[in-house]
Amino acid sequence: MGTENKEAWGSRIGLVLAMAGNAVGLGNFLRFPAQAVQNGGGAFIIPYLVCFVLMGLPLLYVEWAMGRHAGNRGHHSTPFIFGAMHKHSFWKYAGVLGLFISIGICAYYTYIEAWTLSWAYHSAMGHFMGMSQDQVAAFFKNYVALGTSEPIMVWVLCVALNTWILSRGLQGGVEMAAKIGMPLLLLFGVVLAFRGVTLTAGSHGAVNSGLLGLNFLWTPNFSSIWDPVVWRNAAGQIFFTLSLGMGSIHCYASYVKCKDDIALNAMSAGWMNEFVEVVLGSAIIIPIAVGYLGVDKVVEMTKGGSGFGIGFMTLPYLFTQWGPALSALSGIMWFGLLFFAGITSSLAMGTPVMAFMEDEFGWKRRNGALFFGAAVLLLGIPSVLSQEAFNEFDYWAGTIALVVFSLLEIILFAWVFGMEKGWKEITAGADMKVPIAFKYVIKYVTPVFLLIVFVGSLPEVWATLTKPVTFQVALARGLMVALFAGLSGLVWLAGRKKVTI
């Protein structure tokens, strides 16, 4: 059993908002609409919702149940949460992936947070006024190419802000940030979505109405449903959007007592994320971008499915068409929204790392937060300096590791821990009736689903591993291997003795 950890949630709504904040991220507003455009428009929603029900909801139940089970035994980080499910040491080391993913993703994710903060500032100061679209794009490219010292300073500020909020603990830090950030995010999202869909051709320089963008996004291309790539992308989006397979849901749920509900909390947070993604996320960037640029240009700009091009290089220019005051306000709301979405997610990734040091080594909360901040700063430097390193961290820590971790956790929960015990964990203290069908979906369907996604990704992984690499890519991979080895070493050490610092 770990050292006594006195953290607690302040209120149930605070927990649900923090969990929703964990899930709601940049992907809800940038990646989802871009993926929908590239994968069959309105028809994308069918594989997307099927993946949500057969993979997303079951994994939410599983991660909440695992977290609460181990939390009541004194463990709040995935190595020892996995260890609490089965005593074989393999599972403890499999759980190291949760810490690895949290730090690995934050190493580049906090840098994107810095972009949003910078862009909110530049919007507020009117720096985009008078620029052409190409000049805004050049401004962004110069920024990420470190043409100035601003990106590094703002990134360090973002990491420091994350560290400071984490050091204030669950109730005073993470929960407080979610209680402020989530309502503001929803407010900004609703205002911008309203603006997007009410955009009319001819006003403020728009050449199309916002509804044309909505029509383009939601017009179904049913032939795409039979394309396996579309299903893979839908599954990937569900992973990404619900923050599954990262260890953060386990950690947040581990502070819930065994007699309290997890099932209803999981559903509330999960569906809240879907509302933000599908209802709000689909009504902002695509309608506004189509309104000014037309359908063909938007299709071209969403290639790759990330939406970053439109979000950072185009929208600031489009906002300037609305006049100085509305442009500044819209810029603050859009990039403020992205910042809140980002920071509530990065805080969720920092919490398990901090909890690991607190539980297993008896560290004080502040020291645990500093450890996380220092690790993110150290590992984030290559991503800040090189786009190749950035992509490498995103691919291994932010994509492949999530699938591996989720596959391992569903096997551990449904087959090693056992589905009978697992079902009792999910339904204990539940404030809703969990449909019995999920018992069988968790045991049979979700593992097969994940196995298919995993096996399907192997050819690409092999191709990535066998092609020649640059120094930056090799450095990023070396750092990730060192991170995993270092964390495994800490887990081994924690198993041997308790170190009090």
Binding site: S11, R12, G41, P220
Partner: protein
């Protein structure tokens, strides 16, 4: 908007909004458990 686009959008968004509001309403209206529970805000003594 075309009929097919409008239909898919409305069905999807109404369904998701309904589930979101329903579950959040249940969270808000479900009475808290007897102490000690998981939440510190309603504790008699600070933790």
């Amino acid at each position: 908007m075309s009929t097919s686009a409008l239909t898919i959008m409305l069905i999807t968004e109404v369904t998701i909004t309904a589930f979101t509001l329903y579950y959040f309403w249940k969270v808000v209206t479900t009475p808290p458990r007897a102490e000690p529970d998981s939440y510190a805000a309603n504790d008699d003594e600070p933790r």
